[in-house]
Symmetry: C2
Subunit: 293 residues, 2 copies
Amino acid sequence: MSTRQASYVFLKGHGTENDFVLLPDHDGSVHGDLSAERVRALCDRRAGIGADGVLRVIRLGSSVAPVACPEEARDEPSRREITDTDLPEWFMDYRNADGSVAEMCGNGIRVFARHLYDEGLVPASEPVRIATRAGVKTVTRDGAQFTADLGISTIHGETKVSVGDRTWPALHVVVGNPHAAVLLEPGADLTSVGSLAEEPAYDETLYPEGVNVEFVVRRGPDHVAMRVHERGSGETRSCGTGACAAAVAAAGGVPGRWRVDVPGGTLEVSRDADGRVFLSGPAVIVARGETSL
Amino acid sequence: MSTRQASYVFLKGHGTENDFVLLPDHDGSVHGDLSAERVRALCDRRAGIGADGVLRVIRLGSSVAPVACPEEARDEPSRREITDTDLPEWFMDYRNADGSVAEMCGNGIRVFARHLYDEGLVPASEPVRIATRAGVKTVTRDGAQFTADLGISTIHGETKVSVGDRTWPALHVVVGNPHAAVLLEPGADLTSVGSLAEEPAYDETLYPEGVNVEFVVRRGPDHVAMRVHERGSGETRSCGTGACAAAVAAAGGVPGRWRVDVPGGTLEVSRDADGRVFLSGPAVIVARGETSL
């Protein structure tokens, strides 16, 4: 790039091909409020770097870091231990490719954790606690596998989604963020759903801020495959919280461990007797550099 | 990325959203033969950096640089002046996103030239001559506009192309590389052609190594719009030699200057009385860094 242009550091990484631009901005001085326009420019796959979303890496105490633990998160049983004195150092400021703000991203937080480990920003041998708009999450590392504790995930009832002129019953599942998971009949071909490039239609009363939609098919006793439309990003190669929603929906709320095949690879989801879900899989950083976008 | 992994320098840039990963490899020691597998990994839009193609920046005299001026290029009138003593310093080693080798890329060479100017690898105020597999090309700079002399472009006859069950007559145009340009009726909607994600069917006897296919519609006296399927890359937001082929086909071989709208922006094509075509438009570098891909 021209040396006359201002530039700043970025990294690119992915988890099962759900890809992200990471923006180190430890004290918030590089990107300030981080405009939706800049997020869109970075995520543009031709004119920009290209990604499903942006992960700003920012200290929780910095002046521009959004509130990490809203009251509703603290009211949840799994969040009650959060106090001002044990808040984590790092906040994952996640944005969708369209520039909108999002609570959480299950693959994103695994890539975010890998970055913190790689850069020596957290101790190498300990689980790392990361603040998000959906509360504090813990990620542990086992070699190249990164497991995120995504908290309590529950089925909240039933809903419907539509693609074109077809409508399916779906389960309303919350995994920090909202999901509508459609269970297709066993043996169904996931391509038969048609294009997920456009956003499926959903109950806007139930999901006033949009919803992630999964189409799920069983492949075996503890094994499902899925496709996903992520709100704000379109169809993606993988969605971590979507994989959790798919497993929780397929299991009907029973604890266990599932293999979840996504178009970009394979994830593992486990759910304990308390309803807490853990998402495991690879997380890689493929590039690091500077951009003037 | 992990500091244990080998990494090398890359840049990302685009011309009217036809995007490229540039690989500086001045003496050929970084990438050697540059495998198709590495090119595919770099161009992967989720697991890699993402691009329509790779531009390796390599000195012509380096041991692994392919032959820049094949005999057939020297036999062409516009190439007769090329001798071993005035070969350019830099060779554009262009690869398609699928890893295949390609002769030339009209947007790519403009981005390549911008990189050489930006890095001070060529004198700032002079046109730069660049060796390609389709012969030596000259690029000139006027502010943010980069104009590539793409040599003689001529209509070689008629052919046909098909998308799904529809077939159109097309003109066989050579602009260093082969094109089949379909002239739609005036006022036609370019989206009516349907998806260009899959390769259109073409005459494999005429194009044994594949062909770039343009769908072209007039917008005014010296103004066309187009969509393109690039061999090896799929539908792209822009194709420089494709824009030239579209203008030459629309003009029926008459000299002039055309505005060519592509999905990713606007290019200008001029053709002189000798049949030489010049492609003008923006070229930008958006990022520079290191990758372990």
